[in-house]
Symmetry: D2
Subunit: 349 residues, 4 copies
């Protein structure tokens, strides 16, 4: 941390700040410039709340130097983390595409969709059994019945399953059925939930909150990693801005930024960010071109009759065409689309 003193700061004020820094077990480096004195704090500043210095007399501001996340940082872990998923390695140069409906709605729907996305080259099936909805009057998901149908689709197609848990008490049940537990954007800072999925040891797909900074996303990943669970996949899904033509603004610049800051794989969900299926393919292509390690895309066997998010769900034929486009783009950056899922092996439960 750097503590910047005001231009008029007195020797007494500087001494008081130094004394408080030292009382916290840290040391200082004092740099007297032409206009200001700057106090550099030496030692691990992370457990220290910098704002306590900002309200001291003579202090103008403090500037954190160390990033608040450690386990999630590339500095601590220079090599890319590869998250095993059903025999493939997420985060490698094979780009992983996850697809499926917003919600599980019926046996026929989930099975038809699962076979369709598998045929197009998806390596995992998504589908919600518990749905966070802004209205208490909206369809809230099928619950455990939905989880059972997902398991059936897995048996039938061999695709591993990605599905959301919304509260700590749902985690054990969801973990019994899911290969990957999704934490939704609204729950990105639900710390009780993060701790629980951290403890579960199951792979976690952690979505960035609508108005969460990249640093906050990595801090939320840190909660999971701090529980000893390193199987974390990050996911950009659009942030809230002033623009109203799109539901959210997909922040693709987060991809190269996260690649620099962290070793964790970063996915993109272009469906929620755009909100309309005809806008999904351009953003999916762009995400791959920008370096995303994978995509999670909403596809529905019959989107016109979907119970939720029908408008943003692709038809299987659209998804198929998109996959063909992605196969052309990936080699531009030395990657490929993970076409054929390896035979499903037993996965430790």
């Amino acid at each position: 941390m750097i503590i910047v003193m005001r231009a008029q700061a007195t020797a007494k004020e500087i001494a008081d700040v130094v004394a408080r820094v030292e009382s916290r077990g840290l040391r200082v480096n004092i740099s007297r410039g032409e206009e200001r004195t700057i106090i550099g704090v030496i030692g691990d500043e992370r457990p220290v709340d910098g704002t306590q210095f900002e309200v001291m007399d003579g202090v103008e501001k403090t500037v954190p130097i160390l990033k608040p996340f450690k386990l999630a940082s590339r500095e601590m872990h220079p090599a890319d983390t590869l998250v095993p998923l059903d025999g493939m390695k997420v985060g490698s140069n094979k780009i992983a595409i996850i697809a499926g409906p917003c919600s599980v709605e019926s046996r026929q729907q989930i099975l038809e969709t699962a076979f369709a996305v598998k045929e197009a080259g998806a390596i995992a099936l998504r589908g919600g059994a518990y749905k966070p909805r802004s209205s208490p009057y909206s369809f809230q998901g099928m619950g455990e019945k939905g989880l059972e149908l997902l398991a059936e689709a897995r048996e039938a197609t061999g695709l591993p399953v990605v599905t959301e848990a919304m509260s700590p008490e749902q985690v054990p049940l969801v973990a019994r059925y899911a290969d990957v537990i999704q934490i939704g954007a609204r729950n990105m800072q639900n710390y009780a939930l993060l701790n629980t999925v951290g403890e579960s040891g199951r792979t976690v797909l952690l979505k960035r909150g609508l108005m969460s900074t990249i640093e906050e996303l990595l801090m939320s990943a840190e909660y999971i990693l701090a529980q000893g669970n390193s199987r974390v996949i990050l996911c950009e899904r659009g942030i809230r801005t002033f623009e109203t033509f799109t539901r959210n603004t997909l922040d693709l610049s987060a991809i190269p930024i996260i690649k620099e800051l962290s070793h964790l794989p970063i996915f993109v969900d272009p469906s929620h960010g755009m909100g309309r299926r005809d806008k999904v393919a351009p953003m999916a292509r762009a995400a791959v071109a920008a370096g995303a390690d994978g995509l999670i895309i909403e596809v529905h066997n019959d989107p016109d009759h979907a119970l939720s998010d029908g408008a943003q769900s692709m038809f299987p034929s659209q998804f198929d065409r998109l996959m063909a486009e992605l196969r052309i783009i990936a080699p531009a950056i030395g990657r490929s689309i993970c076409l054929e899922p390896v035979a499903r092996r037993g996965w430790a439960r």
Copy 2:
């Protein structure tokens, strides 16, 4: 809902939209303008997902007409809701000031602070026992021990207690100690938690999320109201914007907007929005001048040694001065500051 057709929409496309609307049990009013045809949907549109029409051929956009919240709306409940709190009525023309430390840290701290804020005119004591922190390495609150200290402070001072619950499983315990359960900004859309506090019947102070629109705040209140619990106090605490000089941007315009849209009382938390104690008083005065029904302010007996949020906690003497200023401002809009809490009566549990 209004469905706006594209300028070039064909008769067939219009007929298809009408057919789908009618298949949902609703009726239509068709208005042919000079440039566009508009289809008005008649009936309760709330359970119908409008985006399903947006992806039909010939449709340009849909516009919701009915607000998605009902129980929280002033339309359904024209009179102001008065929330009883320890003998006073929150939402009346007496403005309620809640004060206390960010976190409960020790017996001495909470008792000293409680007496100080009571003397200055606060009508309830705030203090966190469970703290949502962006870092897993930060102080996370004293837990149940903190709740016990809050109860002791209540016995000693007669002030009712406001404290946060962070997950559904904490609610029963927190409800045993708290007069008002606070839902923090990061949990505003934690629906499992909203349902649980709704069921608890305890008064809820619901903070607006950093990233949440006013409509979303009212939808989250709707979750609580839908459980039969009408004791809900809303609270603006700053939204995230591009400005970086303040931690958040306190959106005081939310006060008159919410007063128009809803019957629920609206409070303001100027401490979290500003992040520095010297900026709290101006915003507290502004909130009262703008029509807030109450304030919740961080005050600490010794902020320089606070374990969390010390920089934004007021000294008791600053709080005292602020209360004097508020007593001058309130009459400008025909209100007064609720100076003397009535004798604590037994509160139904």
Copy 3:
């Protein structure tokens, strides 16, 4: 400026950065911490582009220490600047209220409105002759004829006149008629215009852009001050956020922040921020309670027939009531509303 090196930075990389800093005529202070080396730059960093260091090998980031504005900063000019306006001093403890219509529309309109706002206690008349409109098809103002009508209203009422200039070539003409030249929010970073009004020597009311930071507002003031014109009044008028219930989000926290950073007076325009007249009074009261030095409010003698911004223009009777409320609030912070404009004296042109 502080240059933060990466954890793995080599001695060679550090030496290269130091060499480049010194080649810019600056000196360094090197602080070796446990995790990182930090290079403090000593000397005036303002003319140096910090990002040039950020792309050097081994550099993690740079942090500016000195504020980029000088003339506008309170550090360079600790005392409040008092801007003379027709015998009164803007920025003193007398709060100045400017009022009038959005646009000048007719002789009767501007005269009736001018007398009405004078009677209620306004100390200056606002009214646009040149209007920046987002549509080329909207009413663009009366132009020079409007300026003449403003001058007539000034002769009739004695109120000084505030009106906008939109381009450098309009400045000489506007300066001939106006006591205060307004720079609108969309032109806050129109540097050619800022230079021209700086040279004009006329008092400038500089509105904050919709998505401009406080620092950028002060940098734009710096452009005017750098031309030797110190008669600058800043004005907050709402920033763009994700919230859609209000047209913009009035950022009242900018008031105490600007008071700390700068010596210039800060006004608030609650009319443009809110967009609806029934929401103007609460925000006007809040602005005064938060410490604004003045307000600029839209009032129209017949808002239902206004050519622009009718919905946000107050009726004279509403404005009168608001002024009464403000007179109650101002004393809470040791100020008063400047009720009676002193007799207009000749103003130097």
Copy 4:
């Protein structure tokens, strides 16, 4: 426009609204729903200010139906506009890459850079002679001397020239030297400037403002088109959001949205949005994958010694590698990179 009445609106209130609509020369369609009456306005609503109705008794809100832009809309002009640039057609399936330094700094710099970008496949040269800078103390560009050097680089390389004009009075001079006049982000709503470049007839590259919606960008294009100048190229360059890791958030979703709304070509400037050269290539690739008609990229022969924006300027070798990647990506959407500029023909002045 749709006027939504409140649930409790009386017959008298409805009649008053209808009367006012009709007094504006428009007709109505009244739709009585179960909860609300809706008044559809028939006729050209564009010149009518909808907010005037919002403040009438009994009105809840108004909803515009027609887009406020006409000439810029795809509805009025279904075919893509192809903007001729030196023999090629911007907006066709050949993607146009413009490159060059932020500022013209010297004869050697601009010539070396021009030859380098030409060799890599750029079809035009960018370079600023007049620079809008947030600080009055920063380098403001070489002015006319810079224009002369650009002309010399054009003669030497055959590349047409793109350069910025900052105020109406600069336009005639800039038009004498430039093939394309750039309007910078801060001037997107400088209407005097828009009118002047509209009159000039010269091709305009119009950058989206940091704070501007897509609709506002198209409204600013409308100002130029309304002057009879249809040679307008739009350019996304990043919007301001809460995220601070990137300088701005490049809104690539604007590409498919603008393609739907307008017939004008849309370019992307990844250099300003990202602010660091190592992040430019991923966003450039993403922009092409998302369907951009062209890119404008900062390249400098010696970025370490650039006078402005050095950190975001690519080395020529980086640009060369990027061009190779783009050539792989473009075919994924049936396009190609415009490799070889046709021989420069005389361009009408």
